[in-house]
């Protein structure tokens, strides 16, 4: 008896998230800001990658980032070294960001002054796949050291992503890795 009720609650939560995400997408479009959300496993180098991205883009563009984590503001502190505006979203027990969290975190920011906004999700390849954040593109990052079968184990997040970044954290980028894991 309780199982159908749980399904209904989940549907309602996702529906509410979609409404907020739709409003965010319109707001981003009107402001002319291009929004990239990043998802990956914990410890795959997402923050390093984002820090390097922010630093590289800044001479030509205005950039900012929102960073999701269960606890601590360690990642926001790391990203602040890029000199870009960064806000931490602490999710507590939730394993993903939701559109309402993004909406709240944007309070006080003038989106029209930005070219790019990056949203780093909580390190997780399962839960974030169900939650639209109003982004233009979803980027999934995988490190070659995680194993080549990540896209096979987590098809939903890879199927919903627009960009895949295969990162070799220990050296030169390798074509073979992205080919063998089924991304190309």
């Amino acid at each position: 008896m309780s199982e159908p009720r749980l399904v209904e609650v989940r549907r309602n939560v996702l529906k509410q998230n979609d409404v907020i995400a739709h409003a965010l997408r319109e707001r981003f479009h009107d402001a002319g800001v291009f929004v990239v959300s990043l998802v990956s496993s914990p410890g795959s180098g997402k923050t390093t990658f984002l820090e390097r991205t922010l630093t590289a883009l800044q001479p030509r563009y205005t950039v900012a980032a929102l960073v999701g984590d269960l606890a601590t503001d360690n990642d926001a502190a790391r990203l602040a070294r890029s000199k870009a505006p960064v806000k931490q979203i602490t999710t507590g027990t939730l394993c993903h960001l939701e559109a309402a969290m993004v909406q709240n975190a944007l309070e006080g920011w003038d989106l029209r002054s930005l070219d790019f906004l990056f949203i780093e999700n909580v390190g997780n390849l399962v839960c974030p796949s169900s939650y639209d954040l109003g982004e233009n593109v979803r980027l999934v990052l995988m490190s070659v050291t995680e194993g080549e079968d990540k896209p096979l184990k987590y098809p939903t997040i890879f199927n919903s992503a627009d960009i895949a970044v295969v990162s070799n954290s220990t050296g030169r980028p390798r074509r073979r890795a992205s080919t063998r894991c089924g991304l190309e």
């Binding site: 002319g32 990239v36 390093t48 563009y61 990052l141 890879f158 627009d162 295969v166 990162s167 070799n168």
Partner: protein
Amino acid sequence: MKVFRLSAKTGEGMNAYLEFLSQQLAEQGTPAQT
């Protein structure tokens, strides 16, 4: 799906990804063709 291979640690291979972002931003600012 667009795939980029790079090293987040050294930055090698980042240029193609950054160029892609620049292109996406430029296209967003371009009025849709009717």
